[in-house]
Symmetry: C2
Subunit: 348 residues, 2 copies
């Protein structure tokens, strides 16, 4: 496998991103959707922020107020026995997550060469609805004609659902509502209609039984989705045996739709793999990676806010090379060029 990680990795770090308000700090800029707009490469970053603490023994929780109009910061005592603060990403109570310790929004970064990015000073999409009260995360961008469709995780006390938005210029955005209800994430819309219908991969997380696995759905109009079918499940052992979900928007190749997806094992080590889907019937799996395409190995992948994670939300096909942009360690953005042939070689 010839993985060519950029010498400029990480491409974007927390320090490159201005916080949305002076009393907040940026914890990470990662898991970006990718688009090509004229001669620019666009990264639509997930920017995770948290209030700057002024005391070590308190936990600050940022979230929208009930009306969805304003971010408020709640203060909790780290020694409060009613809550569990062991995982710095969230606050738990009775074994259930009840709050997140950061609030994510989406931010545009632009580049002429696909490597050197300029991050815009203001958010592109900021939580503004009660169903986004805990943040919006992990966007995927699909270009169809001149319109870019953005799916994102909308988190709130009601669970994590999937929001849909659109833009034509990455300056103004229009929300189109919640396209899939909780719990669902990792939704990528295919870049063209197939047999007259739109398709999307999605990743529900059922509670009573079942696992975080990949499904496919159809739509006449991108807003309404149906004919949900199970696509592929956890690996029996190894890198994608504990959880999985779509990654980059599927890329049309001669052999089929190439969908890069993430998988994790029981130690929460996230890798990227690939699945090849039938061009005419994308609910049909042709082959999937036996071994990962990309594993967390570089220092910025292994160490960080949540280490041992590579997580792609977008990739470009440049001739016979896949340029995979990916979040590393839930903190920074990186890129790697991987020969298409080497990805094919992981498939069985």
């Amino acid at each position: 496998m010839k993985i060519n990680r950029s010498a400029h990795n990480p491409l974007i770090e927390a320090g490159d991103v201005a916080p949305s308000r002076p009393d907040f700090q940026v914890l990470g800029a990662f898991n970006a959707g990718v688009a090509q707009l004229q001669d620019e490469t666009i990264l639509l970053l997930r920017v995770a922020e948290a209030p700057i603490p002024d005391r070590a023994d308190e936990v600050l929780v940022p979230r929208l107020n009930e009306a969805g109009t304003e971010v408020q910061v709640e203060r909790y005592d780290k020694n409060d026995p009613g809550y569990d603060f062991a995982d710095s990403r969230f606050v738990a109570k009775d074994g259930q997550t009840v709050m997140l310790t950061s609030l994510s929004h989406l931010r545009v970064a632009r580049s002429r060469d696909g490597i050197h990015f300029e991050v815009e000073p203001q958010p592109a999409l900021f939580p503004e609805h009660p169903l986004e009260a805990w943040g919006i995360e992990d966007p995927r961008v699909t270009q169809i004609g001149d319109t870019y469709y953005i799916t994102y995780s909308a988190a709130s006390a009601r669970g994590v659902g999937v929001g849909l938005a659109e833009t034509s210029d990455f300056r103004t955005f229009k929300r189109r509502g919640i396209m899939l209800p909780p719990e669902n994430k990792d939704v990528m819309i295919f870049p063209e209609k197939i047999g007259g219908k739109y398709y999307a991969l999605h990743r529900p997380v059922p509670k009573s039984f079942g696992a975080p696995e990949m499904w496919i759905a159809e739509s006449p109009d991108l807003d309404h989705w149906g004919n949900h079918r199970f696509l592929m499940g956890l690996g029996e052992q190894g890198w994608d045996s504990a959880r999985m979900g779509g990654g980059a928007v599927p890329i049309r190749t001669e052999r089929g739709w190439l969908a890069l997806y993430h998988g994790a094992d029981s130690s929460h080590r996230y890798c990227m793999g690939a699945v090849l889907l039938d061009l005419e019937d994308p609910s049909r799996v042709i082959a999937r990676s036996r071994v990962p395409v990309l594993e967390p190995e570089a220092a910025y992948e292994v160490n960080g806010f949540f280490g041992k994670v590579v997580f792609s939300c977008g990739a470009l096909l440049l001739d016979q090379t896949v340029r995979m942009y990916y979040g590393a360690a839930d903190e920074v953005m990186a890129v790697a060029d991987i020969p298409l042939e080497d990805i094919y070689n992981t498939l069985v």
Copy 2:
């Protein structure tokens, strides 16, 4: 509250239903969808069956084979320490449900007077797809024109999703696919278009955070659903504070759409209540029950396969009286007539 339980309750019991094969026994006939077809009242029953055991120390698990073509029975030793058999409804492993101990199908029962029913000798809809491998459950029936649309829970190792089927005569049925992915249940389609769109109530169960609460979605065609909005959440305390979901198909009244819904408290006691939704915009809650409309009190409601449960999947409006059909104790069917005015009096 003038609850008039029928003197003929339970209307249908397990013994009234022939098993689908001679080596199976019927455990319950309950949670039926309701329809009026010409001069008949139709109950579309959930019939739960299990293999007849021949040894006390084994647990038999019925489910479709991988291809979805045939029911197979697997045998487990009750003393196997790898599994947890404590709850007779399912088999657990490492705290997660991994199998159900019964397999449900849907069966038609017909009546001229709405009280005395004749149960058909054969299943109407039987599991026949890998996503139905653990059974199909809890149907709701909505008549639109001459077509009856049936939503049902489709259970499998992939989770519980929502299947859609249709019929015009309750003799032949056509499946239309999975309309909502796991985990979701308790879906009822409104009986007419509102502002040019179909509407449905649904009840997702998110895993990471969030609760089993009620949502509403829209559709142009009944197959594809979108614009998912949160409708109403758990009560702060009392009868509907632990879980809730839609019950009967909403009934048009002068005051709004009357939707009977179920709620349970932390002791798993299931009651029925009501919510009134705006006639023009059913995502707007006008009022909901402060106290239950129906509570498990009769012997057949308190005792049974899973006691202290009343659970309605369908009701009829007869002049100013709601005739609520309901499953009792996850085992039998019952009916109660309740003055509309008394239901209104529970609303705040």
